[in-house]
Each structure stands twice: as C-alpha cells, then as structure tokens.
Amino acid sequence: MLQTSNYSLVLSLQFLLLSYDLFVNSFSELLRMAPVIQLVLFIIQDIAILFNIIIIFLMFFNTFVFQAGLVSLLFHKFKGTIILTAVYLALSISLHIWVMNLRWKNSSGFIWTDGLQTLFVFQRLAAVLYFYFYKRTAVRLGDPRFYQDSLWLRKEFMQVRR
C-alpha cells in the first residue's frame, strides 16, 4: 500500500519539476543575456521532463494493478499521458536544439522563421496539455483502488479484455 508521506513527497517532487518546466517555458526567452544561460536552462528542463517520465513509471510499477500483471490496463488508462509526455519531450528537445543552434553565435539576434514559429507553437501547446495530463495522472495515482485488489479492478480487467 502506498504510504501517504511517500505519496506527498513524490507528488511535491513532480509538481516542482512541472513548475520548473512551466517557468522555463514562460521566461526562457527573457533570460538570454548569454547563450550558456539558455543552454543550461534547456538541459535542466529536458532532464526534468525525463525525471517526470521516470517518476510516473515508477509510480505505475508501484501499483497493485501493475504488480498483478495488468500492464495493459494501466497503459489503457494512462495512454494519453504516456504518449503526450513522449511527444512533448521530443518536441522540447528538437526546439531547444534548433533555438540553441541559431542563438549560439548571437544570443540577442532575431532568429524567427515560420518553421521555428510553428515548432514553438506546437511545443508550447504540447507543454500545456502535458501539464494537464501529467498532473491529472499524478493525482489519480493517489487513488487507493490502484493499490489493492477490488471488485472495481476485476471489472476493469474484464472490460479491457473484451
């Protein structure tokens, strides 16, 4: 069974990483006095996303549903989060590479092209969806039903198998 203190700790860590992500997404364009600052911010942001993915998977592994072998049920329930997080990580890394590539020589230059603008819009939209789905999943995993055998779980399993 999931301990309340452990869950609180994990949840606060997840929210810390999420808020860092949101902060970098919002204010990274302002903090471009030197290209190194943006580079460090971007690297930490990508690592934070990766950490969040690892944490959410560890939380999955900790559930009774997973330990009972019903991986497909978990994937079925949280596939939105899993797919969005992966997409967001890919978009973030590609945008960061592109932006850093253009800004490395002259950090205060005008770099925008239509392609970069499009990628930027998609990355930021994916970020918002990622926040929403990730937060929802993290909060849902606090449900005690995921950590014990129950009638609900058996019904879910039967529904998924159909």
């Binding site: 301990q3 309340t4 949101l22 005008f110 930027f120 937060k135 929802r136 909060v139 606090g142 449900d143």
Partner: protein, 406 residues
C-alpha cells in the same frame, strides 16, 4: 538357592521378545515388574509340582527362595516385593519416577510404538504415561494450527489432568493447548484462539477505519489548491489582458496613428508581457481543463455542445493560447526594436503590416480571456474532474473510463 534362582532370571530376560512379540514395551520395559509375575507363575508351577509331590514344607522354603531373586532388584526398590500383590493396580511412585527419569531412548521409542497397539489389561499402568508423553508433541502441532477442533484438545487435557491427579502429582503438565502465543511487538503474548480470531477481525476493521489522512486526501487537497491557483490566474489573466489592450490603444493614439510611439514605449514591456501571458494562460487553461474534465473526451464534448460554461471557457482559453503563441515572433520583433538604427527589422512601411494584426490578436485574446473568466466565475465551485476522480462510485467508474478511452 542361587543356582535355582539364576535360570528364571535369565529366562525372563531372554524369552519375552519371543514370548510376546506384539506388545514388547509392556514387558521389556517393565522387566522388574514382569519379573515377579514370571517368578510367580514359576513358583506356582513349582508349587503345583511340589504339592503334587505332597511336600508342604519345601513350599515355604521355595517361596522364600523364589522371593530371593528379586532381592537383587529390591536393592534399589526394597518395597517391590512387599507390594507385589498391588503392583497390577498401582505401581509405587518411586518406581514410576525412576522409569520416567530413565533417559534411555529405547524405552521412549517403545512407548511411541506401543501407542497403536491396544495394550492388554496389564498395560493399564503405563498407559497414562504414554498418553501424557504423546500429547506433548500433539500439543505443539495444535499450537501451530489455529483451526483445530476444540473438543479434541479439551478432552485430552481433562484426561491428562484426571490421570495425573489420580496417580501422580501434577507437576509436569503443559497447560497451553487452548492458548496460542502471538508475537506482538517482538514479544509473545498468550491469547485464546477464539479471542485471537475475533481480535484479528477487529484489527482488520480498525485498519480500515484508522488512516485519517490517506493518499486520496492528499490528491484531493492538491487538486483543490490548484483550483485556487487557477481561480486566481483566471482573474489575473483577464485583468492583465484588458490592461494590455488598453495600454496598446492608448499608446497607439487615435485610429492607430502613432505606431512608432507605441513601439518605442511598449518595447520593454512586450516580451515580459508575452511571457507572463503564456504563464497565466497555461495555468488558466489547465485549470479550465480540470474544471471541465477535458481528459474524458466524451464528457467534454457533450458539455461543450450543451454550452456548459466550463467547457466553453476551456475552449476559449485554448484558442487564446494558440493566438497568443502565434504572436511570439512579432513580440520578439517589438522587443528588438531600435528606432535609431531602423534596420532590417523595422522598415518604415513594415510597422503597420506587423502591428495591426498583433493589436487585433491582443484584443481578441483579451476578449476571449475576459469571457472565459466570466463563464468560470459564474459558477466557481463547479469542478467536474474532482467529482469524477474522487467522488465517483466504484461501479460507474469503469464504464466512463472505457467510454472516454474508446
């Protein structure tokens, strides 16, 4: 005399296994007990022969002679010959203790073997001891299993008590059959089995009742905290957007005639405001999605079609977000405005071409954000995801989950 008494002893030691194979324990064990009987029968036979010969006196002497061979034995147990007559009924306590104290393993083994075979009448005496010895390992067995029938144990116990009280002092009785020793906090406590079953049931119940602050409560409190942040960001965003539009229109002058003034004045504000707008829009959109339970697409679409305020607000926020993000390039262009150089970024005619859509987009964003705020503040307590996540019944949840995912 001794030559006479010698053979019977040897005979008594050699013969019994052959004479009584099925019950070896009763005889072999109790060599001193059986010895006098053998002796007796022998004396009887001798008596018979003597009487048949008509010799009265030798009988006495023979008897005295026959009582001699045990004399080697009575060195340890002098009362044995005296109580010979009573022996069948009751052995002297000293004798019994001497037997029980005997550490010899064969006697113990024989006792174990002798349990199956129903002992003959003379086995009445060793029986209680065997029973007592047998129950001890049995008790261990019972202690291991909680689900043992009570009658067996209690009956046994009573029997042992009876027998011991009848024949010996109840010193070596082990009590515990009806008790079970349970390890609690690294100590063993005695507990009745029936009580133990009750207490374990009670523990299960209390375990269900006990935790006051569960993980679900943590999740719920986090959700509510985020809703508070969302409520704040909705209002703040609406105010910011309206203020931004007002500032832009004031700086642009009548009918957007003074665009260069706008660029000069607004230049340091453009990028910070864009960043703040994204932060607040992201928070507001996530909060609005939470309120409308956007993840359950079927519910969200149904609510949107029914013009549910929360669903409408989340849609408007998302549209505002897209519009606002699309102006990132222009915002950066304004941020890099340098009037003195008037370089490639800002040519003379280019100002209006870039600024007019930017101003309109800002106006639209302000309108959308303001409308969403109105929709959401109309019923600020509505939170569909909270209802569905935390207060939905166990039965209805699966169907909705499948519906949403399919």
């Amino acid at each position: 005399m001794r030559a006479d008494s010698g053979p019977p002893l040897e005979e008594g030691q050699a013969h019994p296994p052959r004479a009584l194979p099925p019950v070896p324990s009763a005889i072999q064990d109790d060599v001193p007990l059986s010895l006098p009987k053998k002796k007796k029968s022998r004396t009887k036979s001798k008596l018979a022969t003597a009487s048949s010969e008509g010799l009265a006196e030798p009988v006495v002497s023979k008897q005295s002679e026959s009582s001699e061979p045990p004399a080697a034995y009575p060195k340890e147990h002098p009362e044995a010959p005296i109580q010979r007559g009573q022996k069948k009924i009751r052995p002297p306590p000293e004798l019994e203790t001497s037997f029980t104290e005997k550490p010899s393993s064969p006697s113990f083994l024989r006792n174990e073997n002798g349990v199956d075979v129903e002992p003959p009448a003379e086995g009445v005496i060793p029986k209680p001891r065997r029973k007592a010895k047998k129950t001890q390992p049995a008790e261990l067995q019972y202690a291991n299993e909680l689900g043992v029938e009570d009658e067996d144990i209690i009956a046994d116990e009573q029997r042992i008590l009876e027998q011991h009280s009848r024949f010996t002092a109840p010193t070596g009785i082990s009590q515990p059959v009806s008790k079970v020793f349970v390890e609690k906090s690294r100590r063993f406590h005695a507990a009745d089995r029936s009580e133990l079953i009750k207490t374990t049931e009670n523990i299960d119940v209390s375990m269900d009742m006990k935790p006051s602050w569960t993980t679900q409560d943590v999740a719920l409190s986090v959700n509510r905290a985020f809703r508070m942040i969302g409520l704040f960001s909705h209002g703040f965003l609406a105010g910011c957007a309206v203020w931004n539009v007002v500032v832009i229109y004031v700086l642009a002058g009548d009918e957007l005639s003074d665009l260069s003034n706008l660029l000069q004045q607004y230049k340091p504000l453009a990028y910070p405001f864009q960043s703040l707008l994204y932060l607040l829009l992201a928070l507001s959109t996530v909060s609005a999605f939470d309120r409308a339970d956007f993840a359950k697409t079927s519910v969200a679409i149904r609510n949107f079609l029914a013009l549910e305020p929360t669903a409408l607000a989340s849609f408007l926020y998302f549209a505002a977000l897209i519009l606002s993000l699309s102006q990132q390039m222009t915002s950066d262009r304004i941020h890099l405005y340098t009037p003195s150089v008037n370089g490639s970024l800002w040519a003379a005619e280019i100002e209006e071409r870039f600024l007019q859509p930017w101003i309109i987009v800002n106006l639209v964003v302000a309108l959308l954000v303001g409308l969403s705020w109105l929709f959401l503040s109309y019923r600020p307590s509505v939170d569909l995801s909270e209802e569905l996540l935390f207060f939905s019944g166990v039965e209805e949840n699966p169907d909705k989950g499948i519906q949403a995912s399919s």
